[in-house]
Point group: C2
Chain length 388, copies 2
């Protein structure tokens, strides 16, 4: 892409996160899709999933994203996208439709393999909370590669394809203990053996995926690697390899900064993000860097210390401070511009996320979480249109 | 309301129309909610309805409608809204939430009782296609009044309430044969005894509802009557009554004009709608008139004669002519402005509808039907913002 990436994630559509579509989990004890499929009768699980997929993201959303001036969507897909991992339901028909929408409305798709069997990170969005064993299961590592390969075979030549990200957010040591704090396993026995993913494993997995994909993809299609939550670990890897058209994906959330004893103030966030822009500029010298996930969400505007992004499906927060409408708009517009300026030290940004179905009016505990949804950021005028 | 009504219908949410959310009907032979509830196992029906209601209209939609500058939503509700008509599922919790959203975002709600047991019109949106027997069943007429009364008791004092429309689109003789052509009954035995609703019945029903509602509603809340598809039948009724704060609702669709051997051209539509504006101005001398349903949809921009609005769930149309993007925008912007100017000869307008979940890209038969959705009209720039 010749211009900067101005992108948005289609989170919560084909890969579920309970907090983004809580009604899908109504009446169950499930915190993730693994247990949702276990807890519901098969016909009801099927009905919920099919209605969700038909409604959560539609043609209208691609139309609107394009009309706002965005040029790319990152599309998280689960490892069972091809429908070969019962009881989970394949989603390839939805991906096919998404490519037709993207091409009709002139935006690109970054396919993002967001989950792996037994999970690469233990997040709810990895498919099963508190479990992180995939990397220790060679057959499942091979299965994951087969999904990457089949995605390339099916979509490699589509004009709407920007590229393929071979694995989302592998939890290396820097993130592992935080994952354990935020996402306790429902079945500790199933979590036994979970461990951080090593960089040596990750380097090898990425090399294998590159060797698999490069011959299948036209030269203009990108192969993307997530940084495993440590952008400092990649200089030798890229300098010692002879990769063509690869991009490094880094995810930067204000709530991650907050976990490092960060001051919960606008000025502090601005400084941190500006500094991170300088870091991106340096890394971008040896590999193009996209900030593939980021958000306006922070504890200052939420009015309560969220301990690194704990949300109301996990814990109720009382006594939040509500800023005035004007203060809120000023804070969000400032954070949007500061962050986009930082991300544009690399090749651009992809907001997390386009949509979430929470209700801040009838369930006031969600106050502040609505800024996760680009739809609402636009409608609330929390970004100045010239800053897209 | 001191300003003109700039409204939009929340069609297809609590009252289903198959063509507006076809996926809800996947795998069934049902053409309406009556048979959807019969054709699906109870748990699957429940799952589909609850997911649909939680997703089709949300807080974000109220936020967006307000941010666009609209000041009212018309909210169709079914006769089983209070949950006392199994197997249909009550929807009062959704209406409660909608009032909280409307009040938070500063827009008004017109509650519209859109269906009746055994139907007042035989349309799919009356709940059961091809059946129109309600008016001949005194117990069901009393039931319908009880719903009107309970709505007034529950929402009468809400600041977000604009008013209550006591019955949507009763099919008088002017519409009855067209209904029979467009909506054949699935079970002819069940349709036996269907007949047009007489104006004498309607006058009496409206008087009864007025007498029921006026003592329950604060003086500033409107009581609204649909014109039964004949705006010329109301002069004596209003002049001979001593009603306080009532409004007459007329529904005007280009496709209805087309049925009267209308020329399928932009100029012809413009003339018809301008003439109708003069009619509204005249009627508005003795009762305030709102155009409570209208749309940009027409056979000229659809590129095929739709025979009065037959849609692709009823019949596939081949060989549609596609206008250029510029021609389409010109046609729609012209039709928007011409029609809004006409409706503003009365007290304002309410577009049909805010949203529909059709896919014009993957199912090209839907080309042209997307203009039914205000969301898409805005995103496609088919209305000029100053004309809202």
């Amino acid at each position: 892409m010749n211009e900067k990436i101005k992108g948005v994630n289609l989170g919560g559509w084909l890969v579920l996160e309970k907090w983004m579509s809580p009604h899908l989990f109504d009446g169950t004890a499930a915190d993730d899709e693994y247990y949702l499929a276990q807890d519901l009768p098969a016909a009801v699980y099927q009905a919920r999933i099919s209605q969700h997929r038909a409604n959560f993201i539609t043609e209208e959303d691609f139309l609107r994203i394009a009309s706002l001036g965005f040029n790319l969507v990152r599309l998280p897909v689960p490892y069972f996208v091809f429908g070969d991992r019962a009881p989970f339901i394949g989603a390839i028909a939805e991906v096919d439709r998404a490519f037709n929408w993207a091409e009709a409305y002139g935006i690109k798709i970054l396919l993002d393999l967001h989950t792996a069997p037994d999970s690469q990170n233990g997040f709810d969005n990895g498919g099963i909370s508190g479990v992180c064993k995939w990397a220790s299961e060679p057959a499942e590592v091979e299965f994951e590669k087969s999904v990457v390969k089949r995605l390339a075979e099916r979509y490699g030549k589509r004009p709407g394809l920007y590229g393929i990200e071979v694995l989302n957010e592998p939890a290396t040591a820097a993130m592992f203990s935080d994952m354990q704090r935020r996402f306790p396993p429902r079945d500790p026995a199933k979590a036994a053996g979970s461990a951080p993913i090593s960089f040596d494993f990750l380097y090898q997995y990425y090399r294998d995926c590159y060797d698999l994909l490069r011959p299948l993809l036209p030269a203009d299609k990108v192969i993307m690697f997530h940084d495993g939550f440590d952008i400092d670990k990649w200089e030798d890897f890229f300098k010692q390899s002879d990769f063509a058209n690869v991009v490094l994906d880094t995810h930067q959330y204000l709530m991650m900064a907050e976990m490092k004893n960060h001051d919960l103030s606008l000025a502090a966030y601005e400084k941190t993000m500006t500094d991170f822009g300088k870091k991106i500029a340096a890394v971008n010298q040896y590999v193009p860097v996209v900030t593939g996930e980021w958000s306006l969400f922070n504890s200052y505007t939420a009015g309560v210390d969220t301990n690194g992004g704990i949300n109301p499906t996990q814990q109720e927060f009382g006594g939040a401070t509500h800023l005035s409408k004007e203060e809120l708009r000023h804070a969000y517009q400032t954070l949007w511009k500061t962050q986009v300026d930082a991300w544009n030290q690399g090749i651009g940004y992809i907001y997390w996320t386009y949509k979430l179905n929470i209700d801040t009016i009838n369930e006031p505990a969600w106050y502040g979480w609505d800024c996760w949804a680009l739809q609402r950021v636009v409608d609330k005028k929390w970004l100045a249109p010239q800053d897209i």
